[in-house]
């Protein structure tokens, strides 16, 4: 059961080949069996079986859609009412959210069964899942390697078949890079496509939730339920949501693909480069036309991002003060001591680093030189994308410069860690949608192809990925021991 696509599972549930309770129990058994991967922070077995029972009743009465009775899990950044929502931090290790995130509400409403909450880098700040208070998640392809981050738990749970699909969030590559490292399909939608209400904020002008799944088809089903306008999110975009599943039928003959030369320069691992080259060749066979393009300001994406994201983070995370929720220090002397010690004890090192960077960039005397400058560069990068996307239908390149690196390899060197997001960060600055699609292996570790599209072209991206997955089987490969 655990290797079937969402559509196959939905068919099986309708034909009574198996019930949602049986399906849910089978995933719960697998979660238990593969506990050592450390991808779940919380498993809600009883609640899952209860909602599976309700889903079975709904399916019997004919009141069901594709996700009814399908087990899934949420990144622990999404608030789930009455269930621990830790955001991977000691700060929220006692936080049972008082309400549901809109994404959680939407998926509950669709009848999906929530198995539990998935491990992640603390407050989504990290590219390896090593900053989690709950420990690193292991990559099922190579257990001494990182799964990527920050949605590492989501990527591993999907890759190891511990859930049918999962939610993730992407601020600088946090859906795409772990999807690439774990050989699954991930989509970061256009900024504003998926509600951020109840999704714990890191950098609000960059954060976006999206689907993490085994195929473009599964991602389409999941995105269908997640996308849409939400009056509770002031940056949600009020625009109709297309039917993603029916959009998967279009031929891609004549599709114009741009290859940004900045994605293929120094720093890109040779083997990763040749996997990407072969994937592009496959698209040519499908009738696509390839064009070299250039985006000269792309090299400034990392410095601009590491001003803007920490600045927004230092502001967002000021709400954690030991008063209203989260960790509170023992016996505070006065108010300042309460704030300072609660925050000092509750946050991990990378979160502290980013709060400090952001506070510095926003402080008097440095605001123009760093924050305004970074926002100006952000516009130049965004204009670069707008210019090339006038000439081509989508852009392709690697998701990350290497495959999954070793646990412990980069955690001591923040700059080196930041550079692992070099191909994903610019997309968040521009607010564009982008996918990671399994495209092959290097040294037994998965490589992800990145496909970037224009604003609100998730339907086109999913179709491009689906056409590729119709002629390749990289997305169907399963890590050894998880068949």
């Amino acid at each position: 059961m655990h290797n079937k696509s969402i559509i196959e599972l939905a068919k099986g549930l309708r034909s009574k080949a198996f019930s949602s309770v049986e399906l849910t129990q089978s995933f719960l058994n697998r979660i238990k069996k593969h506990e050592h991967l450390n991808c779940f922070i919380t498993v809600i077995a009883d609640a899952a079986l209860e909602s599976a029972k309700q889903a079975d009743a709904g399916i019997s009465s004919g009141a069901a859609n594709l996700l009814t009775g399908i087990p899934l899990a949420h990144k622990d950044i999404f608030c789930t009412q009455g269930v621990l929502t830790s955001c991977g931090s000691k700060m929220l290790a006692n936080f049972n959210a008082p309400y549901n995130a809109t994404v959680v509400e939407q998926l509950n409403h669709a009848g999906a069964v929530t198995l539990g909450k998935l491990n992640m880098d603390e407050f989504a700040m990290g590219s390896s899942n090593e900053t989690s208070y709950y420990g690193c998640v292991k990559n099922p392809w190579h257990t001494s390697s990182v799964p990527g981050g920050s949605s590492g738990g989501s990527a591993v749970a999907v890759a190891a078949r511990l859930t049918a699909c999962a939610t993730g969030t992407d601020t600088g590559g946090s859906i795409r890079q772990p999807a690439a490292f774990c050989g699954i399909t991930g989509l970061k939608p256009t900024y504003g496509r998926v509600s951020r209400y109840g999704m714990i904020a890191y950098a609000s002008s960059l954060d976006q939730g999206g689907p993490m799944a085994r195929s473009a088809e599964d991602a389409a089903v999941l995105l269908q339920a997640m996308a849409g306008f939400d009056s509770k999110d002031s940056t949600s975009v009020d625009r109709p949501v297309p039917d993603y599943l029916s959009g998967l039928s279009g031929a891609i003959k004549g599709l114009k693909i741009g290859l940004p030369k900045e994605f293929f320069g120094d720093g890109l691992n040779n083997e990763v480069a040749s996997v990407i080259d072969r994937a592009v060749e496959e698209f040519k066979k499908l009738g696509a036309v390839v064009k070299d393009v250039s985006m000269p300001n792309l090299e400034l994406a990392i410095p601009a991002y590491y001003v803007i994201a920490p600045a927004e983070c230092s502001s967002n995370l000021s709400r954690f003060d030991g008063v209203r929720f989260g960790h509170r220090c023992e016996n505070p002397r006065d108010l300042t001591d309460l704030f300072t010690r609660s925050r000092g004890e509750g946050f991990g090192k990378e979160v502290k680093r980013r709060i400090l960077m952001g506070t510095y960039a926003l402080s008097a005397g440095y605001f123009d030189a760093y924050y305004i400058k970074a926002q100006q560069i952000r516009r130049l990068i965004s204009e670069d994308f707008n210019n090339v996307l006038k000439e081509v239908d989508c852009l392709m390149g690697p998701v990350a410069p290497t495959t999954a690196f070793g646990i412990g390899e980069k955690i001591g060197n923040p700059i080196e860690m930041y550079l692992s997001d070099i191909y994903t960060i610019a997309i968040n600055l521009a607010g564009l949608p982008a996918m990671s699609v399994p495209a092959g292996f290097s040294d037994g570790k998965p490589v992800g192809l990145q496909i970037i599209g224009n604003y609100f072209t998730e339907d086109k991206l999913l179709n491009i990925a689906h056409q590729y997955q119709s002629v390749t089987d990289w997305h169907q490969r399963i890590p050894n021991g998880f068949e």
Binding site: P303, L335, R353
Partner: protein
Amino acid sequence: MILTAEEVKKIAYLARLGIEHQDIESYTQDLSNVLDLMQQMGKTGTEGVLPMAHPMDQVQRLRQDLVTESNGRQNFQAVAPLVEEGLYLVPKVIE
């Protein structure tokens, strides 16, 4: 190094962020390295470029001035570390 330990202590105070004394040096080093990376931005001229705060250049949506939320105090205070009779407790502010 771009920053000094004293500056890092000052930033930490502005952020009300407790940092262990023995970690100050490593934060100073890390932050200096990141600031060094940020200096690259100086290479590109941005005079007259409008700062971009948001990918959609959106303005705030307006809504009718109507009550939409009900009182959820009990629900929200259930997750607070220390409350008494509906009030959040903090150390004494005024002597």
